[in-house]
């Protein structure tokens, strides 16, 4: 089992010889909610480095990462710190494309009810996917429903 107190490590890949080629950043963390904030900060800081990213985008980026990572930890990996969640970002000058994957069975995003309907408003859970859809420019899932991609501008 990974120690949740151990620092998380980013893996950064660059292809400097190809102008305009995307840069990728990857992070693997134990499925422990205590790791979410650090993972968000590491990824967000790197996604924004060297680009004129607005404070609004920085905010959206952090909330999107927090939501997707915590969903994977809680619902994908069952909050079991022995399991892992993988976070990746593909960066171009114009765009940030985030990917979060867990080893769980996945889910059908069409089954998640709208939390803003009157009977969902007072519920304590169920707003994560709604926030993701509201804050990202584009949201996609794999067929299994255990990988999510979220796109937002890098400006």
């Amino acid at each position: 089992m990974d120690d949740p107190a151990a620092p998380l490590r980013l893996c950064v890949r660059r292809t400097p010889s190809r102008a305009g080629a995307p840069e990728s950043v990857a992070l693997q963390l134990p499925a422990d909610v205590r790791c979410v904030e650090e993972a968000v900060e590491l990824m967000a800081r790197h996604c924004c480095a060297g680009a004129p990213v607005s404070s609004r985008t920085r905010f959206r980026l952090r909330v999107l990462l927090a939501e997707a990572i915590s969903n994977s930890i809680l619902f994908g990996a069952g909050g079991d710190p022995a399991r892992q969640v993988r976070v990746e970002a593909e960066l171009t000058d114009q765009q940030i494309r985030l990917q979060v994957t867990d080893d769980g069975p996945g889910f059908d995003p069409r089954d998640v009810p709208d939390p803003t309907l009157p009977d969902g408003l007072a519920r304590c859970i169920g707003r994560g996917l709604f926030l993701i859809r509201s804050l990202a420019d584009q949201v996609e899932f794999n067929d299994q429903g255990n990988t999510i991609w979220m796109t937002l501008p890098r400006c």
Binding site: V36, E37, F59, V63, P115, R123
Partner: protein
């Protein structure tokens, strides 16, 4: 970074959220408010003037606490949301569920 709670002369408990309110620390906030309830406090102001971001677990914790306080005849209000934070409440329509003031001072004046 974290939560701090003070109670003013009018008996209003002010809880400052410094940093994030997310899945990893929401339980600390719930514990802090529950301790206030256990000591008879019934008016709570959550001051988000120093808050970075809130995730859906944090929003859910606020909904849960507001219900708990209301069930005991009290009220939980929110203040100090910047434009980004306020947008989360508006998107989720939680702005219709909470009394939200621009600043902690304004919230306290009308509590």
């Amino acid at each position: 970074m974290g939560f701090s709670k003070t109670t003013n002369g009018a008996g209003i408990a002010v809880v400052k959220v410094e940093g994030q309110l997310i899945v990893g620390n929401r339980q600390e906030l719930k514990t802090l408010v529950q301790e206030g309830l256990d000591h008879g406090e019934r008016k709570f102001l959550i001051d988000c003037g120093q808050t970075g971001y809130i995730d859906s677990s944090g929003l859910g914790a606020l909904v849960s606490l507001a219900k708990k306080v209301r069930d005991l005849g009290g009220e939980l209000r929110i203040a100090g949301l910047n434009d980004d934070l306020r947008s989360l409440f508006e998107l989720t329509k939680l702005d219709t569920l909470f009394h939200i003031s621009p600043t902690a001072d304004e919230a306290l004046a009308g509590f």
